[in-house]
């Protein structure tokens, strides 16, 4: 049978996510590449005790980071404002300013959320490793810093490295420009970021796209996430005002 992974709605696509799940959220931070409609559906689902894995996370609402000026930014902070998330692993959870306080920092200050800060290159390589069957790797990044605490140190060719382990999740919510019905994905511009790696690293990968095309509607040179990694696809409504 032709493979078809289309979900009818954002509500349907996230409906089986249970409380306690770990959730990767794609993009870099900012509107481009962020699965904003899937995030809103997960918030509306109301499940709790979530672990969020993101990159630049929760700083758009207070700083406008990565959002067009005329729009009210939406970011990972929604899960901390709602009390659904109790942990976040990311590289950039707070902006330079504390006025106003971001939702993640507020939750952290109030003891409602654990914040695990990982260097960005280590974070993406840990996620990539989970998808690629590599349980652990050595990196020079973080040696001599608080990030190195409790980690194995090892020298190769006279330089010291840290052992870092793969990072997977139960679900990945990602964003692409275009999907074919089989689940091949194409991105645009800088919207790739964490999306392709996260697609490989979760048990279930759910994709928010602007457009779904028939098989053959994506140039085989432009398949940037292979259909094998994709479980569900949801298309945005035409004219969706969110970027």
């Amino acid at each position: 049978m032709p493979i078809n992974k289309i979900s009818n709605s954002f509500v349907d696509a996230v409906a089986d996510i249970p409380s306690g799940a770990s959730i990767m959220i794609g993009g870099f931070g900012g509107a481009g590449g962020q699965p904003t409609r899937l995030m809103m559906a997960l918030r509306d689902l109301g499940v709790g005790d979530l672990t969020i894995i993101g990159n630049v996370a929760g700083i758009s609402k207070t700083t406008g980071y990565g959002w067009p000026e005329h729009l009210d930014p939406i970011d990972h902070g929604m899960f901390f404002e709602s009390g659904q998330a109790t942990k976040i692993t990311c590289s950039f959870p707070v902006p330079g300013t504390t006025n106003p306080l971001s939702e993640i920092e507020r939750a952290w200050r109030e003891g409602r959320a654990e914040v695990d800060i990982v260097p960005q290159g280590t974070l993406i390589e840990r996620i990539r490793s989970a998808g690629a069957g590599v349980p652990a790797f050595y990196t020079p990044t973080g040696v001599g810093t608080p990030v190195a605490e409790g980690k194995e140190h090892r020298d190769f060719d006279g330089r010291t490295y840290l052992l870092e382990t793969a990072l997977s999740a139960d679900y990945a919510l990602i964003r692409a420009q275009k999907a074919d019905t089989r689940g091949n994905l194409q991105y645009t511009g800088t919207s790739r970021a964490f999306n392709p790696a996260m697609a490989t690293a979760a048990k279930v990968t759910i994709v928010e796209v602007d457009e779904i095309v028939e098989v053959g509607g994506i140039d085989p040179e432009r398949v940037e996430t292979l259909s094998t990694y994709v479980n569900r696809i949801v298309q945005r409504e035409a004219g969706d005002p969110l970027p």
Binding site: F92, P119, T141, G144, G189, T190
Partner: protein, 232 residues
């Protein structure tokens, strides 16, 4: 170079403005280099490239070869830089994902990164991601860039509020990377760090500033090795 206003407090002469610091830092960027500029003063370097110098700007979010920003209100959220701003589409750009972006950084393929700092130590330790009393900070790409770029330049104001030294014997703030800084460009000085000998060499000073004036605002011991010239 723009110097305006009267000297503040006990300063012997005005400090350089942010643009002048960026302009001086930009002067050392070598034609053809792949360069990553941090937010703040470092990002301003792009406005002051010497004639004939063409750089490839890299941003962590997966873009190489961008130039100026789009006009306000005209940016495309899918064409962003690492500071969350929206550059224009220009010929020769490349888009890629975060795995590739950090292969470039971690693999040592970035020729120069210009970053801001909270503290830099005499031996080139860098602290720029967390203020201890806040208890929470953001690392982003800073640790990967500081630890792995071929050359690390710091562009910053020489002191923190109340003239607290930022250039110190030992960093008291949590590090971004140890022994990584090659050069510091501030609003009163250009300092080279000889990491082999652990010496901070004062090379240039702002107009009207002497070695002693700069040392007075610097906790780390500065040394002279060759002529000290005026920042131009």
């Amino acid at each position: 170079m723009t110097i305006s206003g009267k000297p503040a407090g006990n300063d012997p002469a005005p400090r350089l403005d942010r643009a002048a610091v960026a302009k001086r830092a930009a002067r050392d960027l070598v034609d053809g280099s792949t360069v990553n500029l941090g937010i703040g003063i470092p990002a301003l370097c792009a406005n002051f490239l010497p004639d004939g110098v063409e750089l490839l700007y890299h941003a962590e979010n997966g873009i190489l070869g961008f130039k100026e920003l789009s006009a306000p209100g005209e940016g495309d959220p899918n064409l962003m830089d690492a500071g969350g701003k929206f550059p224009k589409l220009v010929p020769g750009m490349a888009f890629f994902d975060s795995v590739e972006s950090f292969n470039l950084i971690r693999g040592g393929h970035i020729d120069v990164t210009v970053l801001g700092a909270l503290q830099v130590s005499r031996t080139g330790d860098l602290a720029n991601w967390i203020i201890p009393k806040r208890g929470i900070g953001s690392i982003g790409g800073a640790m990967d860039l500081a630890a792995n770029a071929k050359r690390v330049v710091i562009a910053m104001e020489h002191t923190a509020r109340g003239d607290t030294p930022k250039i110190v014997e030992e960093c008291t703030f949590p590090l971004t990377a140890p022994g990584c800084v090659d050069e510091i460009v501030t609003d009163i000085a250009v300092i080279k760090i000889d990491r082999v000998s652990g010496r901070m060499i004062l090379r240039e000073t702002a107009p009207g500033w002497s070695f002693d004036d700069v040392q007075a605002l610097t906790e780390a011991t500065l040394v002279v090795d060759g002529e000290i010239v005026e920042i131009s």
